[in-house]
């Protein structure tokens, strides 16, 4: 079934009974010609280990609705990222804050330092391209590098990956993604925990959920149809892979087993995880 309208209206046109003969499980699928350019992957707070230090790279402050526009959004994202990745660094690792164009005052820097301290990390250096942030950081006793952060962004390909560009390293989150949380990552996302209804993951690569998948997930968000979505318990609000959309059937199966969602010429299909082989897409 091909629909070229928006997703919402496409959903309304879903057949009452899915073509169960074709589908390994009763996932309803829609093929649709949504342009992948629509699903820009904006940036989120990013943590990256580098030569013994941890880089805390803030996304540039933008007006984009997908990105953190205000300090409280940024702070929340930072706290959630830190608690979901705690086991990836040694206690007392030094942190370099790449503050991009954020205008941070002493109190906000202190709140970042406190959030880091709670995860046993130590804020050491602040890199910024805003003079006021540099002044506040110096006053608070941090080392300051005042230069354009653009260099860093380019260096680590933090900008949205275009088709053909390599992904960022996988994002590993050990947490429950609760309602309201949105993860965007220009690469593969791995969640050790449940993805609850009301949360979403938008990844340029694969999405792997070691837990219950009940939220909204979009793999291959920049258009890569080979991307997969895997979950121990596949009950998503909605699945998307590249420009394909599917949603779970009304009646969940009596028992769940690990499953993989993948794209075929007919749309998204679900297969048992055990013995799954990635099909060749022509």
């Amino acid at each position: 079934m091909t629909v070229d309208s928006s997703i919402t209206s496409a959903l309304e046109k879903l057949p009452e009974t899915p073509e169960e003969t074709v589908l390994p499980t009763a996932m309803e699928t829609i093929t649709q010609t949504q342009t992948s350019a629509e699903s820009v992957t904006p940036l989120q707070v990013h943590l990256k280990a580098e030569s013994g230090n941890l880089l805390l790279i803030l996304p540039p402050q933008t007006e984009l609705k997908e990105g953190p526009a205000v300090w409280s959004d940024l702070w929340l994202q930072l706290k959630q990222r830190l608690s979901a990745g705690e086991k990836f660094w040694e206690p007392n690792t030094l942190v370099h804050l790449i503050a991009e164009n954020w205008l941070l005052d002493g109190r906000q820097l202190q709140e970042i330092a406190e959030a880091l301290a709670e995860s046993k990390l130590v804020l050491k250096l602040v890199q910024t391209n805003r003079r006021q942030t540099a002044v506040a950081a110096a006053a608070a006793g941090y080392s300051v590098e005042q230069e354009s952060a653009i260099a860093y962004i380019n260096q680590y390909q933090l900008t949205s990956t275009k088709p053909g560009q390599p992904f960022l390293e996988p994002l590993y989150l050990e947490t429950t993604l609760r309602s309201g949380v949105e993860i965007r990552h220009p690469g593969t996302v791995i969640v050790l925990g449940d993805v609850n209804p009301g949360s979403s993951i938008i990844a340029d690569g694969d999405i792997i959920v070691w837990g219950r998948l009940r939220g909204f997930v979009h793999a291959g968000a920049r258009g890569k149809r080979e991307c997969l979505i895997m979950a121990l318990q596949m009950e998503p609000t909605q699945l998307r892979i590249a420009d394909f959309v599917a949603r779970a059937p009304e009646n969940p199966p009596a028992q769940f087993s690990p499953e993989v969602a993948y794209v075929t010429d007919e749309g998204i299909r679900i297969a048992k995880g055990l013995g799954f082989q990635r099909p060749d897409l022509s």
Binding site: S179, V181, G198, N251, A254
Partner: protein, 266 residues
């Protein structure tokens, strides 16, 4: 130092204020010194539930602005001398308060009491932030409805981000017959999503509404209704006692019941 517990939910009308009043009373009757703080500025009603409305002279706002002392504003309950209420202002907006003032106020209260219970407003805006800023623990109240559970989940995420890690769940207004008939989420369903330890299950009971209107919390009236027992049990569990859940509180169902439920659906 007091235990500072915020009672919150995200969604309105699920029983935060009712729970605050009853848990406060139950804890007080067990010999604890309790202050309940109405943080629902602009829409206060904890005083109504406690039947203390006509004794209010000053409010929390007056304390924060320095117009009176904390002692002046605290309303002592004559029926239960262990319980005091710090009322919210009725006629001002939520924006009249900031987090620093709120922190100070709660810190001051914590000096004098065993428990500070904070009745949180609905939503996740400024009023919510003020209510949770000084809290060390949280009690999440939800009803077994998808929308309430969704909001509760969101709020738990926010509490965790604010480093409030001790979070317990009350499922309010359970109707066992409806759960049995598969027309209502079970406690198990709720817990599967929220994944936090359960503090209590309160049945839907019209006596709760009657007591609300009388300004006399069920627990205070010495009611032997299941809701009153449930609230007493919640207070005991808060104090660390292991109290078994009432049978009417529908214990988490076993795998077999779950399976048969699924089959019945078809």
């Amino acid at each position: 130092m007091a235990r500072i517990i915020v009672v919150t939910s995200g969604k309105g009308g699920v029983g935060k204020t009712t729970s605050t009043a009853n848990i406060g009373m139950a804890l007080a009757s067990r010999g604890n010194k309790i202050v309940v703080l109405d943080a629902d500025f602009g829409l206060r009603n904890l005083d109504l539930l406690l039947g203390l409305e006509n004794r209010i002279v000053y409010t929390a706002l007056d304390v924060m602005s320095g117009e009176c002392t904390l002692e002046d504003a605290l309303v002592k309950d004559k029926r239960q001398p262990n319980l005091a209420l710090l009322p919210a202002a009725q006629n001002r907006t939520k924006d009249a308060v900031n987090t620093d003032q709120m922190k100070q106020l709660v810190t001051d209260l914590a000096q004098q009491y065993d428990y500070v219970l904070i009745d949180c407003p609905a939503g996740i805006e400024m009023g919510f932030k003020n209510a949770i800023i000084a809290a060390k623990e949280a009690v999440i109240v939800t009803t077994p409805e998808i929308s309430a559970v969704r909001d509760a989940d969101r709020v738990i995420g926010l509490l965790e981000a604010h480093s409030i890690k001790k979070i317990h769940l009350i499922v309010n207004r359970i109707r066992p017959a409806m759960v049995q008939a598969n027309n209502m989420m079970s406690v198990q369903d709720v817990q599967e999503i929220l994944a936090i330890p359960i503090l209590g299950i309160v049945p839907d009971d019209e006596r709760v509404i009657v007591s609300t209107n009388k300004g006399e919390p069920l627990v205070l009236a010495g009611s032997n209704s299941l809701a009153a027992i449930a609230y007493n049990n919640i207070a005991r569990r808060l104090e660390g006692e292991k109290v078994p859940f009432l049978t009417l509180e529908t214990p988490p169902e076993g795998l077999w019941e779950r399976m048969s439920r699924f089959f019945r659906k078809k």
